[in-house]
Each structure stands twice: as C-alpha cells, then as structure tokens.
C-alpha cells in the first residue's frame, strides 16, 4: 500500500446501510481519514477524484445492464476490491426476483414498466469481476470493516472467521433458542461476524451473514422440519438476505424439488426428518463441521 492509499466507496443496488457503517465508526473515522485519501465517496463528500484507487469498497448487487458495465470499469480502476454486505456478496434480498418472473415484478410495481430498465436478475459482484475480499452481513459489522482496513494499511492480508454463528453465540453465553425454546435458528450454518445478535434477543438467526464454511444444510433443514416447520417455511427462511448465496440457494432449490415429490406422495420418506440424528449433530448448539 502507498503511504496514503486512495479509497473509493461505490454503490450498486442496495440500501446504503453497509457504506453507512463506515460513517458510523464515530470514534475512529477522523483518525482513519488521516491515513487514507477518500477519493470517491458520494454519500460523504462532494470531492470526486478519478481512479485508479488502491482500495474500492463495493456495496450493492448488479441489476441493470449499465451497472454490469460500470463494475467492469471499476474493477479496472481498483487495485484491491472488497465487496461489502449481502447485496454485493450474494445479490441481497432483491435476488428474490431471480426465482420469480421479473416481467411480472415490473408490472406489479410500476404502472409504466417501459420507463424502467432492469435485468431479470440481481447478482453478486463476484459473478461479474474478480473480488479480492468479501465482507458478509446485511449490514456488515463495522468493526470487521475497520479490521480489514487496518490490515490493508499495515500491508497484511485481511482475515475474517468463517466458522458459524453458533461459535459466537456460545462465546457470548447466550441460551440456545433452538434447544431451549425450539425456536428455528440458522446459526449452525451461518457465518459468524455479527456477534450472534439474534439469539441474544430471544430470536433465531435468520442467516443474514450467509453460509459459513462447509455448512451442513441438510441436517439443519431436516431438524427445522422436525420441530414443526413446513418445507415451504424452511425454503422461505433460507431465501432471505443472503438467500442466493451458494449453499443456501442449493438447499432451498433442493427442498422446492422435494416439495414437489411430497405433494404427489412420492418419496416422502426420503425427506422425513430424523430427529434423533439431527439434534445429536448440532441441536445442542454444536455447529457441525466447525472448528471446535
């Protein structure tokens, strides 16, 4: 990194929440601003400097043809490109349209669909260009963002944990909502980073940080069904803010197929939950496949 690296913060389809995390670093912002040159950050400053940039933070997903072009140009101007948040890393909540009829969506929302130009899909930045690092979450955790920027300033490759929310949940000392109350929780298959917020507030994790490293989806979805969720509800819970991320997507699509077989009464046994097995594997809050 040069003495004063140049930073750009760029937005695609998103809510601004992830870039706002940077401005929410109240105690560190001014010191940080002394060490980097903020060359492009529309939300914060009217000063607009052309590239190249040493570090580019990309928020949002690609949903228009113009944006698909813009991300290519941006990649060429970026030495180190970091995607911030579920929109940029997985397509975001707006990726729900990837499973729907996008023409119908247009008609449902706009009286004059012809005024609107949009692609049929919402896709992650990594589907378009090479990404050097990704920060998960909807929104990202601002402390993780700070760590990543500090690592880069120190010339180190940033790292963030890839284990599951369960690990953080136990570290925090929360009661496991799934074991104690039978509340559905995606913590066992969701990547850590938030600090396991939801269980600390008596609710299950809804997976906003996306899949953890090698998540065991099938035992979890089997268990969710064993505690009373319908297959449709399980699909719905996987199709959230990171629903289009690899493992979540594949599992929800597998379940949708199996719902078809249940409906016709064929192969129901194949998706019957094995309660004893699944609860033994992770229902006690032990995340399957995580570094212990």
């Amino acid at each position: 990194m040069p003495a004063k690296p140049r930073l750009a913060v760029v937005k695609f389809a998103s809510c601004d929440g992830c870039q706002l995390s940077l401005l929410s670093l109240e105690d560190e912002l001014l010191r940080l601003a002394g060490k980097i040159e903020v060359a492009y950050f529309l939300e914060a400053t009217s000063r607009i400097e052309p590239g190249p940039y040493d570090v580019v933070l990309v928020e949002g997903s690609i949903t228009t043809a113009d944006d698909a072009t813009r991300i290519q140009q941006l990649r060429r101007a970026a030495k180190y490109l970091i995607t911030i948040g579920a929109c940029a890393t997985a397509g975001g909540i707006q990726a729900l349209k990837n499973w729907a009829d996008s023409e119908e969506y247009l008609r449902a929302v706009y009286a004059r669909p012809d005024y609107i130009r949009t692609l049929a899909t919402s896709t992650a930045i990594a589907d378009h260009v090479a990404v050097d690092f990704e920060l998960r979450g909807c929104p990202i955790n601002k402390h993780q963002l700070l760590e990543v920027l500090r690592s880069l300033l120190a010339g180190c490759q940033p790292r963030t944990p890839t284990y599951s929310v369960c690990v953080e949940c136990k570290r925090r000392g929360s009661v496991c909502v799934m074991v104690a109350h039978g509340t559905p929780c995606l913590g066992p298959v969701t990547q850590a980073g938030c600090g396991a917020i939801c269980p600390a507030y008596d609710r299950g994790c809804y997976g906003c940080f996306g899949p953890s490293d090698q998540p065991n989806l099938v035992p979890l979805t089997d268990h969710l069904r064993s505690i009373g969720m319908t297959p449709e509800q399980v699909v719905n819970s996987l199709r959230g803010f990171s629903g289009y991320a690899g493992e979540f997507r594949r599992e929800s699509e597998r379940l949708v197929e199996s719902i078809g077989t249940i409906a016709t009464g064929v192969g129901a046994a194949a998706v019957e939950p094995d309660v004893a097995d699944s609860s033994g594997e992770w229902g006690d809050g032990q995340p399957g496949g995580d570094p212990k």
Partner: protein
C-alpha cells in the same frame, strides 16, 4: 434579444453528493426561460412490493428495513403498525413507549448525520465532513458524538443500529431490562446539552432568503410530537385517519426516474413532508427544552424557507433527546414484550414519521398470515415534486452565475430536504401521466 433565439442552456449535476442513494439533476433553459427541472433518480429498482407477496407477515419488518439503511426503524415502525391494524392487535402502552424510544434513537442517528455531516459543510463551505474536520474538528467531533448516542441506543434496544433485529409484529422479541436502559440516562443528558449547543450555533448560520408557499403535511397527535401515530393533517385543514392516506395522496410515475412523485388529490399539487412540516403542525408538542430553545434562537413557525430545514432538524434532535430521557427514566419492561395475535384475512394501513417525513405502509394479508399485497410510500418520493417546484422558483435567483455555480447552488437546495434516494424507488398507487 434575437441572437438568443432558440438558445438552450443545460445545467447538469451528474451525481449528487452527500445525499442517501444516487441521483442527478437536469436543468434545461430555452432563451433564459426554465424549460425543464428534473431530479433524476437512478437508483436501480429493487421490487420490494413485489417480493413481499407470499412472505409470512412476520418477515415484513425485517425485509422492509432493507429499503433504507439510514432509516430502517421507520420502515419497521410503519410496517408493524400497518400489520397490527390489519390483525386488530392492540399493543400495550409500555410497548408503545419502547417503540418511541427506538424511534428517538433513529431520529438522533439520522438527523445528526444530516445536520452535522451532510448539510453543515454547505453552510461552512466544505466538500464534506471529513474536509470540514480539518478546520473545525470540534464541530465534526460533536456531530459524531451526538450520532453515536443514537446508534448506541439502537444497538442496545434493537440489537444493532442498522437493520435492528428486535422489532416484531406485536412488540419486541426481547424487552431490555431496566438496568440495560438506565445506563443511557446520563450520556443522553450530556447528549441533550451537546444538541442544544449545536442548535445555538446553527441558528447563527447564513441562510439564503427563499420563502415558498408550502402545503405542509404531517402526522398530528393530540399530546405527542409526531412520530408513531396520529391523524394526517395539513396546514390548509386536511385531517384524515392515517389509513385514509391512499384516498388523498397519489403517486405518479415520471419518465426520468425510477421513483414515483406524489401529489395531493384535492389540490393536484405537490406538498412538503419532514421537519419543517412537523414543527409547524405540532410546535406546541415539542418538548419544553426544544420549545424554549426555539424561542431563544427566534425560530418561529411558520417557517417556509427550506434552507432552515437544518435548524428544524436540530430542534428535533433536542426534542428526541428530551423525549428519550423521559422514557428512559420511567422505563418498565413490557410484559409480555410481544402481544400474541391470530391470523385473519384483512387489510391495514398506517403511517409514522420517518426522519424525512411521513412514511405510509399498507398491506393485505391472507388467512394463513401471508402478505397478499404491499404498498410503501416513502417520504422522499412524496417530496420529489415539491423539490422540483422549489428548484424552478429558486433558479432565477442564481441563473446569472456560471453553470458550475448554478449546479452547486441547486444541489445545496436539494440537500436541504435530506433526500433519501435509496428509499424512493417505490410504488404505491399510480396515476399515469399521459400528458
């Protein structure tokens, strides 16, 4: 005169800065006459109203929060109130107060961001807060400290500041203990003093002279400053129940924008929402601290100059601190934290006051608790028509300047409304303009 015949002058702001979300500004003059003034919104559409259909109603507050990272609580509040109206759920007074407290946290966070980091640099002549910090570190530091208090309250009560996880239809997933909230009283009293001090300074800024004949609209409640509930009122005498909103306000789609623009049906004209509207329609309901300060700095509604938005917002910051302190001091955890409900086929609508103004949500739900339709009307798409009308009226004051300076002046005016462009890409009921 004749050599100017047919001469077009175009002034553009390619990408507006220090606003939430992305948009531009297009101004076209023909022979010195204003031909066209467009606030262009090029936020890509995200189709929330479409994909909410079929989702369980419990998902709605979490999903609609993602429309805007700056005011997620507003989306959560309007959605839970609308769904509770549909379900016939009566929340307890304790839950109601806790919701107001959460909303105070968001007003503080959002107003502090706009006042101290986005808008103040315009008055003091800087590109942004980071640049301003070199000359006025104490001002920026103070703004950050004020904002931090709002964020910390949101963190504690909502689980996190951006997209809180603790808001549920019927109440909260978990009510904080008394101890978890009482430790906020002292820092908030200090925050109140900071907000008062900042307001005094802001009142001494140089405000451009520019008065508009606004139709001001806000949620008005007999005893409270506008926030979670009330009737929708305007300064010309409109007074309707909040769920009547769709019968009085319509949105129209315009070609240069992915957002809609709203007008009032009765007048066929745009209207203004936000701090200036609230402070005018509910001045007496401001907390005593804020009212005293308004008198002291000689802020007296009616104020019809949009550049004073920063002062109205500063006074609302003082109000939000005072109200939060009051709730914090008398807090008892609601039991239960969440009121149970049964599904039924129904429709419901509600409005609350987002930091930028009235935010309406309307939903239809099916007997199995799934959403059948969703209507979301964010404040910025409602204000857009008024912003363009104001630009037209403001332009003659600045047209003699070079293009670059005209563009800057217009951008400064637009910033005064604290537009949130990320939010404004939404549908409600649409009247197609075939003109």
């Amino acid at each position: 005169m004749s050599e100017h015949q047919g001469q077009t002058r175009s002034i553009r702001v390619e990408a507006m800065t220090r606003v939430e979300g992305e948009g531009g500004l297009d101004i076209r003059l023909l022979d010195g006459r204003i031909e066209q003034v467009n606030l262009n919104i090029f936020e890509p559409p995200r189709f929330f109203e479409a994909f909410l259909r079929g989702r369980p109603l419990e998902d709605v507050p979490d999903i609609t929060a993602r429309i805007c990272g700056i005011c997620p609580v507003a989306y959560q509040m309007s959605s839970v109130h609308a769904l509770e109206a549909a379900l016939g759920v009566e929340i307890s007074p304790e839950i109601r107060r806790l919701r107001r407290l959460l909303y105070c946290g968001e007003w503080i966070e959002s107003h502090a961001l706009h006042v101290h980091m986005l808008n103040l640099p315009d008055f003091l002549g800087f590109d942004g807060a980071l640049e301003m910090a070199q000359a006025h570190p104490e001002r920026v530091e103070r703004g950050l400290q004020i904002r931090k208090l709002g964020n910390q309250l949101l963190d504690r009560l909502g689980g996190r500041a951006i997209h809180p996880i603790n808001v549920a239809v019927g109440g909260f997933y978990r009510a904080p203990t008394r101890g978890e909230l009482s430790e906020f009283v002292k820092p908030f009293e200090a925050g109140l003093r900071l907000a008062e001090e900042a307001t005094r300074e802001i009142a001494t800024l140089d405000f451009p002279v520019f008065d508009q004949a606004y139709d001001l609209v806000a949620l008005v409640h007999p005893d409270e400053y506008p926030m979670n509930e009330g009737r929708i009122e305007s300064c010309d005498g409109l007074s309707i129940a909040a769920d009547e909103f769709p019968n009085h306000f319509v949105e129209q789609q315009v070609p240069h924008s992915t957002a809609m623009q709203a007008i009032r049906l009765e007048t066929g004209k745009p209207y203004l929402l936000g701090p200036l509207a609230r402070i005018q329609l509910a001045f007496e309901r401001l907390a005593p601290e804020a009212r005293r300060l308004a008198d002291e700095v000689r802020f007296q509604p009616p104020c019809r100059n949009p550049f004073y938005g920063i002062l109205a917002r500063s006074l609302e910051l003082v109000h939000a601190f005072a109200e939060a302190i009051d709730i914090l001091k008398t807090y008892t955890p609601p039991r239960p934290p969440r009121i149970a409900y049964a599904y039924r086929e129904a429709v419901g609508g509600a409005a609350t006051e987002a930091p930028r103004g009235l935010l309406y949500h309307g939903y239809g739900i099916a007997a199995d608790g799934k959403v059948t339709h969703a209507n979301i009307v964010p404040p910025t798409s409602q204000n857009q028509g008024q912003i363009e009308a104001d630009l037209r009226d403001y332009l003659p004051q600045v047209l003699s300047l070079p293009d670059r300076e005209v563009a800057d002046a217009c951008e400064k005016l637009v910033r005064c409304y604290d537009p949130c462009i990320s939010c404004s890409t939404h549908f409600l009921r649409v009247r197609i303009d075939r003109g």
